[in-house]
């Protein structure tokens, strides 16, 4: 379990994903744990890795604290709803949803890998897309303009706050239902949707993930779905794996790793579907 957690943490750290995508299948398919119990353990591990990273990003002034806290209010609301819905949904449906998530992550990684090999950026450039928000200071919306100014960073202006709020609620629900950090939703949401530079979006996402996972982990904890004998070793394994992964990242051929990871994810998605179908 320690080794599995370490592998999940290392993979997650090398590929910029949280460990949750791998921990839930590891515990359900590998150790026969109930899916909800696995989600509870995964949430704990997600808090460990994201908080450690968020602390470093805050110390280095990379994360956008104000934007992060504004969005995390809405992810926490989503996580509260998702944490409650999770106990009403049949486990088979949760397994199907998780398999769909794994499929989506695999396709995203293939797309990202192909774009990197082509030398084309995987995502639109940082120049903000045409948006539905008026520029700050126009139409007499001074309060809104001041809020946008406070949420923006030194070299960029945040846009589409409404999109960010809606996407954050969705990310919170998904995180609580499936035990993932939700960075795969939040980073593109901030970067592509709100015009936040990728590095800042990644750092801010780590900040948000901790609170989102905490809001739902509390519900799992109080409903007796977190087993300390499982959560302890897995969390330690993930912490060690993520730390080691970040140190060796520059020495590893990420194309090979990404290919292996996609195969593992697709195989896991297939196994989760089989489990869902009984």
């Amino acid at each position: 379990m320690l080794a599995g957690g370490a592998a999940a943490g290392a993979f997650g750290s090398l590929l910029g994903l949280g460990g949750g995508v791998l921990i839930v299948p590891l515990l359900t398919l590998g150790f026969g744990l109930d899916l909800r119990a696995a989600v509870g353990v995964s949430l704990v591990s997600v808090i460990v890795t994201s908080s450690a990273a968020a602390g470093v990003y805050l110390e280095r002034n990379v994360a956008n604290l104000r934007l992060g806290m504004t969005l995390e209010l809405f992810t926490a609301l989503g996580a509260l709803g998702g944490g409650l819905i999770a106990f009403l949904i049949e486990e088979r449906l949760l397994a199907v949803l998780f398999a769909a998530l794994l499929g989506y992550v695999s396709l995203s990684m293939v797309r990202h890998g192909l774009a990197a090999e082509d030398g084309t950026p995987p995502e639109p450039p940082l120049e903000p897309p045409p948006d539905d928000d008026p520029p700050p200071g126009t139409n007499g919306r001074d309060l809104r303009a001041r809020a946008i100014e406070r949420l923006s960073g030194d070299a960029y202006t945040v846009r589409r706050i409404g999109t960010g709020v809606a996407g954050s609620v969705f990310a919170g629900v998904v995180s609580a239902l499936l035990g993932i950090g939700g960075g795969i939703i939040k980073v593109p949401l901030m970067h592509i949707g709100m015009g936040v530079p990728l590095r800042v979006a990644t750092a801010t996402s780590n900040l948000i993930i901790g609170v989102t996972a905490s809001a739902s982990a509390v519900i799992y904890l109080l409903r007796g779905e977190i087993d300390p004998y499982v959560a302890g070793p897995v969390a330690i394994g993930v912490f060690v794996g993520a730390t080691a992964g970040s140190r060796v990242a520059h020495r590893i051929d990420l194309r090979v790793l990404r290919g292996l990871f996609v195969i593992v994810l697709l195989y896991t998605a297939f196994q989760m579907l089989l489990r869902a179908l009984g």
Binding site: I47, L73, A79, V211, V218, D227, P228, Y229
Partner: protein
């Protein structure tokens, strides 16, 4: 666009250090729990005891793995909450009522989760 004030940067550095410190305390508690599990031959699949706040101190004093693991898990879950609390204090001191209100609203949502989970049994 806004230039971040040096006070902002110091505030964020302090919050970052708080987050890292609480996280390391949590990881050390979990590590002690895992070492005690290995030392006493407890299998991860044996089904751990549920959280019982009344037994927590006794378990820790008796060097029972569950005591340290539960303390560590509670510290892990409290880590982001402590950061939000620290931010709320900072925003109140800095005279930013909107951000202070957002921080307190986040804490209220988490508290609401606790209440709902307890009521739902």
């Amino acid at each position: 666009m806004s230039d971040r004030h040096p006070v902002d940067r110091r505030f964020e550095r302090r919050l970052g250090r708080l987050l890292i410190t609480v996280m390391y305390v949590a990881v050390i508690l979990l590590l002690v729990g895992v070492v005690l599990m290995l030392a006493t031959g407890v299998s991860p699949m044996s089904g751990g005891p549920g959280l019982d706040p009344a037994r927590l101190v006794g378990d820790v004093l008796a060097l029972a793995p569950a005591g340290f693991l539960w303390l560590g898990l509670l510290a892990v879950i409290a880590t982001p909450v402590s950061r939000v609390l620290g931010a709320a204090v900072g925003f109140i001191r800095g005279g930013e009522p909107l951000m202070a209100a957002i921080s307190l609203a986040i804490l209220a949502v988490i508290a609401l989760g606790v209440v709902v989970a307890i009521l739902a049994g």
